[in-house]
């Protein structure tokens, strides 16, 4: 037994596995405990055997980025070990996610609650961006809620670090309803602004209690966005017509956000409109958003321990729904509804499954 194996064996001994709590296409999640302290953890077992070309990319990404990110609002990766054919990630155990909280109709959200969740999301995201990591799959389902009410960004299966100048990135990321228009137009050079758009959609969803921009296909998504926010002009978003998949999607007029978000304060509307600016370079950054007047104005953000919680226990959530050919049928009903980012069937053009780094 060499040193690495011994190390791995010691790590395996530190954790004990319990009941299964969720299953996705590439991983199974178990409830677990730290053997020495009894602390509850979640163990994500990644099936290695079934992938012809080695370890699944999202597992690599998850380990790579979570290893570096330690922040109160980012899920903590406690340990990694392998057992037999599988890779095991030991993660913090978190009770529920923001989606369950939003869907629980018995909850009433006060403006202060929304502010508190937004502040926590932005703090976590700002930390990722400060470390040059793009999350690329922000949605309520990936914002987990700890027992003490702290919100934590999870699922780094699509994350990557900022690209070098001139390097292409894939545009098939971020769950459709939270995907910014530049990705829908097939842009291969983007930045932190893509995550900010998702945050804007989540902000709107917290106020509306239903997904704000729920498109049924990529094309319909663009239409939904433009119907809600108006079709961008060349002046608002210089150069967008030259993006690879640019299409003309009707001409919709702009209507003030206040019409839909009737209960929102002027500050909140201002911040939301800055999250949803078409031109990515002008979109507010996570840090600037944290310093926006909305955050400082009254009411103060609710203390995390007092935030509304989901009363129902968390549904077994699909761990990561990445559709690969022929596996689509195996997905749960929920998984198919909130479809994750990469979906080769929907696109007009067949997209190869290779993800470039």
């Amino acid at each position: 037994m060499d040193a690495a194996e011994r190390e791995n064996h010691a790590a395996m001994k530190r954790w004990s596995k319990d009941a299964k709590i969720g299953e996705g296409t590439y991983a199974v999640v178990y409830r677990g405990r730290q053997s020495s302290t009894g602390r509850q953890v979640a163990i994500k077992k990644i099936k290695v055997g079934q992938f012809k070309d080695g370890l699944d990319m999202s597992a690599v990404r998850e380990v790579k980025y979570l290893r570096e990110l330690k922040h109160p609002n980012v899920i903590e990766l406690l340990d990694v070990f392998s057992s037999k054919q599988n890779l095991n990630l030991v993660l913090e155990f978190l009770e529920s996610d923001l989606e369950a909280v939003i869907k629980d109709r018995s909850n009433v959200f006060k403006p202060a609650d929304i502010k508190s969740w937004m502040a926590m999301t932005l703090r976590g995201l700002e930390f990722c961006h400060r470390n040059f990591v793009l999350h690329r799959d922000l949605k309520p389902n990936n914002l987990l809620i700890a027992a003490d009410g702290q919100l934590k960004i999870a699922d780094f299966g699509l994350a990557r670090d900022f690209a070098d100048p001139g390097h292409k990135m894939t545009c098939q990321v971020i769950t459709r309803w939270y995907r910014p228009p530049e990705l829908l137009f097939g842009c291969r050079f983007y930045s932190t602004a893509v995550d900010i758009w998702s945050v804007g959609c989540i902000f709107a969803e917290l106020m509306l209690r239903v997904p704000y921009l729920a498109g049924e296909s990529d094309m319909d998504q663009l239409k939904t966005i433009f119907r809600a926010l108006g079709t961008p002009t060349e002046q608002e978003w210089p150069g967008h017509t030259s993006l690879p998949h640019y299409v003309v999607v009707g001409n919709f007029p702009k209507s003030p956000l206040q019409f839909l978000f009737t209960a929102a304060s002027a500050d909140a509307i201002d911040l939301l409109s800055k999250f949803l600016i078409y031109e990515p370079r002008r979109r507010i950054s996570a840090k600037d958003a944290l310093y926006h007047p909305y955050m400082f104005s009254l009411p103060y953000p609710t203390h995390p321990s007092k935030l509304p919680k989901a009363s129902a226990p968390m549904q077994p959530r699909p761990v990561h729904i990445e559709e690969t050919e022929g596996q689509g049928a195996a997905l749960s009903a929920k998984a198919t509804k909130r479809k994750a980012s990469e979906d080769p069937f929907e696109n007009s053009k067949p997209v190869s499954r290779r993800l470039e780094f």
Binding site: S191, L208, R227, F259, M295, F296
Partner: protein, 374 residues
């Protein structure tokens, strides 16, 4: 179909706001149509009555000819379609085409009930209830309260059936004059009552949750104890050489004793749950909301070790910069971020002391050199 229901909020924005919708044709003229009336449900939305056999009594257009047909009700309780309203009343108040009463465009309301007399009664009753809001406490005896209720019913009946309208209105005005202060007070009381009710509901919900949690905990404890007892029996059977049946009987008796001890505890824990509930309510008060603090972590990103310039002589990113108005710019790629990253990674290791117990002198020397540079 599903798409149209999902996107409903996009199309019915105004309906949610004003309790009434204005069709595309109405908004295009920039006339915000404000309707009063219609019956709101609990969520504050107006539910609207419409049927397949709707027909505008004025223009005889029906749902077959115009699938978007929407009939609104005038203050004289006659229906007509939105386009008739637009046509007749855009230029100012006009007589109702059915009864001749002078109407305005703004005063049309969506219909909630199939029967318009019901619609009218609901509207009248709501109006009356707003002002005639005296309570039993405001009267000396039951008799005078009953008299008051009868009077209110009388007025309502008159208004609904349009009997002596002028005289009834005078009665209402007189009542309003006499009781202005009391009406105001009762409105405030009502609001307080509603608030109190909501708070109580919330308290009860919390209590229920707390109880359920407690029950779960007890069940879990019991399960663990049972398992422990089972293990103990097995251990004893293994180690002792007394007869097996004796041992099992003894363990059973012990378990029963333990269970009996737990019973009163269960009752106790319910009350303790309540005590704890008050405790949590107390601690919830203690967990004060504090003003927003933008950043709470102390992770140091070496920002003070470099100054990012606006422009660098960077042959690697030549291609990106040349594309100033093209796809790269439109996609939001920020060259500054790449430069910042390069700078940060360059300064990251500065000022870090070499490890104490590093045996190799070579690595220590390298670290020292770096420190001198920093």
């Amino acid at each position: 179909m599903s798409s149209s229901t999902r996107l409903n909020w996009l199309k019915t924005t105004t309906r949610q706001r004003n309790g009434a919708s204005s069709s595309a044709t109405a908004t295009s003229k920039n006339v915000p149509t404000v309707y009063n009336g219609g019956v709101k449900d609990a969520s504050g939305r107006t539910s609207e009555y419409s049927s397949m056999d709707d027909e505008c009594p004025v223009c005889k257009s029906d749902r077959y000819l115009n699938p978007k047909l929407r009939l609104l009700v005038s203050t004289c309780y006659h229906k007509m379609c939105e386009s008739c309203i637009d046509r007749l009343f855009t230029l100012g108040p006009q007589g109702c085409p059915i009864c001749g009463k002078i109407l305005r465009k703004m005063a049309f309301a969506p219909q909630t009930f199939e029967d318009l007399t019901v619609e009218k009664e609901v509207a009248v009753r709501r109006r009356i209830a707003k002002e005639f809001n005296k309570r039993r406490e405001d009267f000396a005896d039951l008799r005078s309260y009953n008299d008051y209720l009868e009077e209110v019913e009388d007025i309502t009946f008159n208004l609904i059936n349009e009997i002596d309208v002028a005289e009834t209105e005078a009665r209402i005005a007189a009542f309003r004059r006499e009781n202005a202060a009391l009406i105001e007070l009762n409105i405030q009381r009502e609001e307080r009552d509603i608030q109190g009710l909501q708070e109580q509901e919330m308290r009860e919900r919390r209590e229920r949750e707390e109880m359920a949690e407690e029950m779960r905990r007890i069940a879990e404890e019991e399960r663990i104890e049972r398992e422990k007892a089972k293990e103990e029996i097995i251990n004893r059977l293994e180690s002792s050489d007394a007869s097996a049946t004796d041992l099992i009987a003894k363990s059973r008796a012990e378990a029963a004793k333990r269970a009996a001890r737990r019973k009163p505890l269960a009752g106790l824990s319910a009350s303790s749950a309540r005590a704890r509930l008050n405790g949590t309510a107390h601690s919830a008060v203690q967990a004060q909301d504090v003003p927003h603090v933008p950043l709470t972590d102390t992770w140091y990103a070496c920002e003070d070790k470099y100054v990012l310039r606006a422009e660098y002589d960077d042959p690697l990113s030549e291609r990106v910069r040349a594309d100033e108005q093209g796809a790269m710019r439109a996609g939001g790629y920020m060259l500054e971020q790449a430069w910042e990253r390069a700078l940060r990674t360059a300064v990251m290791g500065l000022n870090i002391m070499p490890l104490e117990d590093e045996p190799a002198s070579g690595s220590a020397r390298v670290a020292g050199d770096v420190e001198m540079v920093g």
